[in-house]
Each structure stands twice: as structure tokens, then as C-alpha cells.
Symmetry: C2
Subunit: 191 residues, 2 copies
């Protein structure tokens, strides 16, 4: 039996609850592995995964009006992975979530999450803290898109998620940063 130590530590880093509570929450999660290039979620599915990513890299992407893949976000280890619209609103997903490298972690379903949310006060605080954390990250990404040059955005990614720059193809990174492949390639030349 897996003791889910990394998940317990993650929970404790996000919210101030007892170690016992954190362990109990972690025990509600189920082990999952995803192979490189496999999908956690595909378009038109209703997402049923709230995933703690213990190791590996993932991305969430969708197709724009011209059919081009747009990478919306990257996920790195020691983070929660979910597609908020489909998971929480129980609607078909527009987006795909794909493993960039081999991934491992622990997941719960929407129903399991909801049961915990209403019956475990500690999970309530945890769940809210995760939403708040990711919401803030989204806002900061917004701010960076508006107030940073593309060079600065790339440098920022290099610092905050170096694994991404190392493992993800240029085109994923370019669409994430909001530039064309050519432009990113040129940016890279100047380190």
C-alpha cells in the first residue's frame, strides 16, 4: 500500500490542517499512471479527474477557429491538474489534457470530491485553497501576457518551469507564450 507521502506534504503546503487530516484526504485519492503522449482528457468527454501530479509533465490544449492547437497551460509535478469547466460544471470538454512525459499521481472523481467537500471540513479548506491558488496563477499569467514582452515571458517560463522548456516542443511553448514558432525560435537565439 502506497502511503502517498508526496501528496500529504503537498496538501500540508497548501492549507493549515493536521497531518492526520492531510493523510486522510490523501488516502481518498487513487493511484494513476499515464504514458507519454496519452490523454487524461479528450475533447467532448466530461472530465472526471481531479489529479495530483506526482511526477511528469502535462499540457492542456485546444483547437482554435483555424484548427490550430493552442497550448493553454502546462502542468508540472507537485501540482493539481484539472480542466475546471468540464470537471466542475459537468459539461463536455473543449480541451485535451495530454502527458508530455510519462506521468504518475493520484486522482479522485467529481463524486468523490463532492462527498469530501461536504463531509470533511479539512478537505473543504484544501479544495478552496487549490481553486484560489490556481485562480491567482491564471490572473498572474494574464498580467504577464499584457505587461511583459515576449522575451520576458520566455525568460519567466525558463525560470519557473525549466522542465517544460527542456521537454516540450517549441510549438507548444510558442502557442502558450502567444507568439509564432518563428518568433520564439528567434527569441531563443538571444538566450
Amino acid at each position: 500500500m502506497n502511503n502517498k507521502e508526496s501528496l500529504v506534504n503537498f496538501i500540508l503546503s497548501v492549507v493549515e490542517i493536521s497531518k492526520d487530516d492531510a493523510q486522510e484526504i490523501a488516502n481518498s485519492f487513487h493511484s494513476i499512471e499515464i504514458k507519454e503522449k496519452d490523454f487524461l482528457l479528450k475533447k467532448n468527454q466530461i472530465s472526471d479527474d481531479y489529479l495530483y501530479l506526482e511526477s511528469g509533465l502535462m499540457r492542456i490544449y485546444l483547437h482554435d477557429l483555424e484548427g490550430e492547437e493552442i497550448t493553454i497551460d502546462f502542468f508540472t509535478e507537485n501540482n493539481i491538474v484539472f480542466e475546471i469547466t468540464s470537471f466542475f460544471n459537468r459539461v463536455r470538454s473543449e480541451a485535451y489534457i495530454q502527458a508530455i512525459t510519462k506521468c504518475a499521481g493520484f486522482r479522485i472523481s467529481y463524486e468523490e470530491l463532492n462527498t469530501l467537500f461536504h463531509h470533511k471540513p479539512a478537505f473543504r479548506d484544501f479544495g478552496r485553497a487549490i481553486l484560489v491558488k490556481e485562480f491567482i496563477a491564471s490572473q498572474q499569467r494574464n498580467y504577464g501576457m499584457i505587461n511583459r514582452t515576449s522575451k520576458e515571458r520566455y525568460q519567466n517560463l525558463l525560470i519557473t518551469k525549466p522542465q517544460i522548456v527542456k521537454y516540450a516542443p517549441l510549438k507548444y511553448i510558442a502557442s502558450y507564450l502567444g507568439v509564432t514558432d518563428s518568433t520564439l525560435s528567434r527569441l531563443r537565439k538571444n538566450f
Copy 2:
């Protein structure tokens, strides 16, 4: 005594709960008015307002590294207004929330919200639905910043928040859209 009908209807539009529950939640909120150009939140304060905006327009802004005001977001009537980082994490705010026009609505404090969150299941669902709703809006804004031209972003604002275009000065809108004042002025010429 105010029956807070608009707030009750707003709650019912966001989450599937009984009318009685919605009324009870609404009754926990307190009436508030804000004069044009006054502040709901200033930099370095710890936000204690979770506000349902019944009428009026607001904006949230901060100063960038050069000291320039950057309008991060606009709030219109029939929406919840809060600065998530300061309110939920109990830290000093980087941002200001200011009334663009005279505003009226209903607010609760962090402590009141937390009590409801842990003691009223219906409020739990409501609170989560609001976080989810605003998170999704933030993600869509992100997508628009990357995949729409500045002209399209302006047109979108015109359609989704025409009050803003009507009442907010050009410079607020320009920084929100991520363009300079000059560029927005030129965009406007082509309707």
C-alpha cells in the same frame, strides 16, 4: 428592510439550490454604497469585502514597475467583486478596487463568508460556483489575449461590457486590453 431580490436571483442563477436557501444566504449580506471614484480596497489593506454589485461599475488596478496604472479587470452589475489574493489569503493587497460610477450592493466579510462556508451546505456550493465562474472568466480572458487581435479584443469588450466602453476613460480600457492609449484611439476610429 431590503429584501435583496436581485441578489437572491443572482444566487439562483449561479447554483441549483432552493429559494429559501438563496434567501437565507442573501440575508447574511449587508447593504453598501460606494461613491464614484471612491475605493472598496486600497493597496496594502487586507481586503475584507466579498461584494455582490447590484448597480454601478468598478475596476481593479495596480501600479506596474514603472508606476503606471494597469487596469486588471472591470466589474459590472450583477457580479461578485473581490480581490482574491488579499481576501482569501489574508495578505496585503497590491491592487486597488475603485468605483467608476456610483455603486450599490451587498457585502460580507471574510469571517462571515467562512462561517457560512463551513455551516451552510448551500453556501458552500454557491461559493465554489463563484470561484469556478470567475476562474473560467480569467482563463477565457487569457485565451483572448493570446488568440485575438487587439481589434477583436476591443470589439469583444464592446459586446460583453458596453457600459465599460461608455463610462470608463480610454486609458483604463487600453491597459486592460493590453495596448497603448494611442493604439486604442486608432482602433476606435474604425468603429
